[in-house]
């Protein structure tokens, strides 16, 4: 009974994983025959400053999106953990962005942020009517904002679940000892959510590593190469410049980075059994 799933997964999961490593040692334009190329792709790609630029942009997006999403999600998650009716209603609305495709969101924001015909221009808020996607730093800020707009609700939902698991007796004991709300948040809520924070962080980090759809539609890596993240770099080299070899080098780097980061975060969170005990 396990065989159909195993077969499909081997064919389209495991074989490509090995394949991407193998292809990084070949020369292929995406259509014609594939030629072995030794380590030349690795040598040329690792020397290419473009790779380091993409790595830097990717890390920038990972770090900034974590810094923006985590505090807000924690705050909103704690808030949503309350069982008042209106909070449930707010939660319903918060999740709508999560249902939309990245393509739809990118297209919407592209129109909304247009410096001449966008929302800010229409409302005559000239300080908001910037050329948001035309300047490197602003474009990165926009990408971070949109990622947060879409995914903060998701992480809030994870934190909401986590907060509801915290035994109420801990808060009761703390109030008897005279700890205020803020104190309770920092010395009970946050430590108790340790594993939830690590789960959410892992998802943010590994998720931002392979961010593609949104940036592809929103800026296509621009302006210049300001938002050219690794996944986009891979796509452009492979499917636009028809250099599958160097693109496979980037893809291999992506796989390794993802595994290393996921393992590091797991180490940070202690053993898996511990995180399972804490979990739902």
């Amino acid at each position: 009974m396990v065989l159909p799933a195993l077969f499909m997964f081997l064919l389209f999961g495991v074989v490509p994983l090995i394949g991407v490593f193998a292809l990084s040692f070949t020369q292929w334009d995406g259509l014609g025959p594939i030629h072995p190329a030794g380590i030349s792709n690795w040598r040329s790609t690792l020397k290419d400053p473009g790779l380091y630029h993409s790595l830097w942009v990717t890390f920038e997006i990972i770090a900034l999106s974590w810094l923006v999403q985590t505090p807000i999600s924690l705050l909103l998650g704690t808030f949503l953990a309350g069982r008042q009716r209106y909070r449930g209603f707010l939660a319903v609305l918060f999740f709508i962005p999560l249902l939309l495709s990245s393509a739809a969101i990118a297209i919407t924001y592209k129109a909304l942020l247009d410096p001449n015909f966008g929302l800010a221009a229409g409302l005559h808020l000239s300080f908001l009517a910037q050329d948001w996607l035309g300047k490197g730093n602003l474009a990165i800020a926009v990408v971070i904002f949109i990622i947060s707009w879409q995914f903060i609700p998701f992480h809030s939902l994870i934190y909401q679940g986590g907060v509801r698991q915290i035994p109420t007796t801990m808060y009761e004991a703390a109030s008897i000892d005279g700890a205020g709300r803020v104190r309770q948040f920092f010395s009970i809520t946050i430590p108790q959510l340790k594993y939830t924070i690590i789960t959410s962080t892992t998802l943010i980090v590994v998720g931002s590593l392979v961010f593609f759809d949104l940036i592809f539609v929103l800026t296509a890596g621009g302006p210049g190469d300001a938002t050219r993240v690794l996944a986009l770099d891979m796509y452009k080299r492979g499917f636009m410049s028809n250099q599958m070899g160097p693109a496979s080098v980037i893809a291999t780097i992506l796989v390794i980075l993802g595994l290393v980061l996921a393992l590091l975060l797991r180490r940070l969170g202690g053993s898996t059994t511990a995180s399972q005990q804490e979990g739902a």
Partner: protein, 297 residues
């Protein structure tokens, strides 16, 4: 495990004792969270509201009216334009690949999960499970080049099947993770008593495990369905002709096609999102637990 379960657990806990009241009282005083909550509502709703109102404006109203005002002369023209531009075909394609992925993916994942739980202790099955768990860490983006090569070699390039097959494979790891957790909770005695009555493994799978894991099956289906429905990378790389376009890709080409006609572009956004938003309105709880399936650990 899925959020639905954890929510059920907490609810039962708070109704059981007075503890829930205490938490409620504490959380009610969270004014900072309250401010954040209302601000976030504004941040989320403004773009959504803007999409909808703009999609009912004609072009001149779009340029002249206050962008947040209701359309002075609401019009369906933008929707008509989008629908006349082959929207129904793209919609159908999206439905085909979503159903074509979710049904087989969930079926084979369910069979595999059943086999893995029933055969606990088997080296082979343990290894298979380990492989699937490893699969959770493989991003689709990173292996897209070899997938593209495989699809060409199988002569499936530019077909809907080219989108379905890899999507099935990439739906398996998380589905198996969630489903094994649920099948594990089915009491062993039930399997034993059925086996004593002479039932085969397939009969047990169908008449015991299936009904008892139905909520998890729905959850997993929704999760996978949303991913396929919104998927952009596979259609972008594995298809070429306009007749094979799915909705997210069609949105992207609409945007190129109608670039200056923003209301029409936004009408296409509304149309692609509508089915999911309706689904969300009907089965909110299932959908939310589907979204966080396997992650709320």
């Amino acid at each position: 495990m899925a959020v639905a379960t954890s929510e059920a657990q907490t609810t039962s806990r708070s109704t059981r004792g007075g503890g829930g009241h205490q938490v409620r009282k504490l959380l009610r005083m969270n004014w900072l969270g309250g401010i954040a909550g209302w601000i976030w509502l504004v941040i989320v709703m403004i773009p959504l509201y803007w999409i909808v109102v703009t999609s009912f404006k004609d072009q001149s109203a779009f340029f002249s009216q206050n962008p947040l005002a209701l359309p002075s002369a609401p019009t369906w023209d933008n929707y008509k334009l989008v629908i006349e531009n082959d929207f129904p075909r793209y919609f159908l394609n999206s439905v085909i690949i979503t159903v074509g992925t979710v049904v087989p993916a969930v079926a084979i994942s369910f069979m595999a999960s059943y086999a893995i739980i029933r055969g606990a202790g088997s080296r082979f099955l343990g290894g298979v499970m380990g492989l699937f768990l490893l699969g959770l860490a493989i991003p689709l983006q990173a292996v897209i080049i070899p997938v593209y090569l495989l699809i060409i070699k199988m002569q499936l390039y530019d077909s809907l099947l080219a989108l379905i097959l890899p999507s099935i494979a990439f739906a398996i790891p998380l589905s198996v993770l969630v489903l094994t957790n649920f099948i594990r909770d089915v009491p062993k005695e039930l399997f034993e008593s059925m086996r004593v009555d002479g039932a085969s493994e397939w009969q047990m799978l169908y008449s015991l495990a299936l009904p008892l894991t139905r909520p998890a099956l729905v959850t997993v289906s929704i999760y996978n369905g949303l991913f396929v429905w919104n998927g952009f990378l596979l259609p972008l790389i594995l298809t070429q002709s306009p007749e094979k376009r799915t909705l997210p890709l069609a949105l992207w080409t609409f945007q190129g096609q109608f670039s200056v006609n923003v209301p029409a572009v936004l009408a296409s956004v509304v149309l692609t999102a509508l089915p999911i938003v309706i689904l969300y309105a009907i089965g909110r709880r299932q959908l939310l637990s589907g979204l966080t399936a396997g992650f709320s650990r």
